[in-house]
Symmetry: C2
Subunit: 197 residues, 2 copies
DNA sequence: GTCTATAGGCAGATAGAC
DNA sequence: GTCTATCTGCCTATAGAC
């Protein structure tokens, strides 16, 4: 049901989002400009303003698209017949994929700049993390039922600890660029949730 | 041996660093300007340039002072007759103190913006995390000897997991401003290192 | 040490032609 | 949809007086 586009993969708005997303993930929302995006695409900044009224609207669209794609990936994992530890590993794998592209999680980056963001972007970032927490909590509760996962405190607290651990590992591993750094942290977080069995 | 200063606590350079540090911790290095600092202190931006040649030099000084103070705090904890879990709790308490001021760890914030930082700042940030890792590794090794701590993999990996978990928890808890969020994550990380006993 | 004044550049954004 | 041209404002930084 997607409209056919014989002449190019992705229209201009999509390509703007692609470039802007990479720049935000690598440099932050306050670390890139319309001129950066325009130059890379070989168009003018005025053309960008045609597709996105301002930087705030572009930012909103970035968060919305990122959250939507991430939610899709989580649904796909949830649908597979895996035990909880395997699902958590898959979840951590999503982060490793982003890291291999030498990027930070878009919303992790925006969390750092939270105080400087337009309201609509803030709300999108909060929704992203709420959704991730809810998904992880459900998986952890599955693990408790299966007997494959154990933790002190509530499932939502354990979900947040796991999520925070992954975001923090991306943050700290990126300067060194060492994927093994991130994967070791993923294993450590998982071990903390499973070694009690 | 500190020079006496009857007329004021902290000279101008110190007060510039105080304001700039808070702004970086709350808004990021790319999210504040010389004008912000000058206005808050009631001086001109030209006066700032007298004390710090440019924003890069100010940034360097910020990282150096922060790392020095943090190292002092770690030495104080190391000197106390505590078991490893208690030292880790104290370490986590340092992060809670920063968070209560509604700030991010300075170097955690700078890690997000790493790709946009001047070289000298990058090196300072890397040294900060290397030092933290080394300190945590030593505490974890103490814990293994005591039998109070256990983990899979190497001590340096466990140290990184713990550090990343705290930085990530600060990052994600700050939008909501909920200190309990951070403290729950601290407990969760500690439990992951001690529940195996 | 701090000021006023200002340079020079880049930011986000708009008008209007094509 | 994309362009050129331009606006306004903010940024870092400097010159030179006091």
């Amino acid at each position: 049901m997607t409209a056919p586009r014989s002449h190019r993969v992705g229209d201009t708005a999509d390509r703007i989002l692609d470039v802007a997303q990479r720049l935000v993930q690598q440099r932050g929302f306050n670390g890139f400009s319309y001129a950066d995006v325009a130059e890379e695409l070989g168009i003018s900044t005025a053309a960008l303003h045609y597709h996105f009224a301002g930087k705030a609207e572009l930012g909103e669209a970035l968060v919305a698209r990122y959250a939507s794609r991430f939610a899709q990936a989580l649904e796909a994992i949830a649908a597979e017949p895996l035990d909880a530890p395997a699902k958590l590993e898959r979840y951590a794998g999503l982060y490793a994929d982003v890291f291999r592209d030498q990027r930070m999680c878009l919303c992790g980056m925006l969390a750092a700049e939270f105080q400087t963001l337009p309201d609509a972007m803030r709300e999108g970032v909060l929704r992203f993390f709420d959704h991730s927490e809810a998904w992880l909590r459900a998986v952890l509760e599955q693990g408790v039922r299966e007997g494959t996962v154990a933790f002190d405190g509530t499932a939502i607290e354990a979900a947040r600890t796991f999520l925070a651990g992954l975001e923090g590992a991306m943050l700290l591993a990126r300067p060194s660029g060492d994927i093994e750094w991130l994967e070791a942290a993923s294993r450590g977080l998982l071990t903390g949730l499973t070694s009690v069995s």
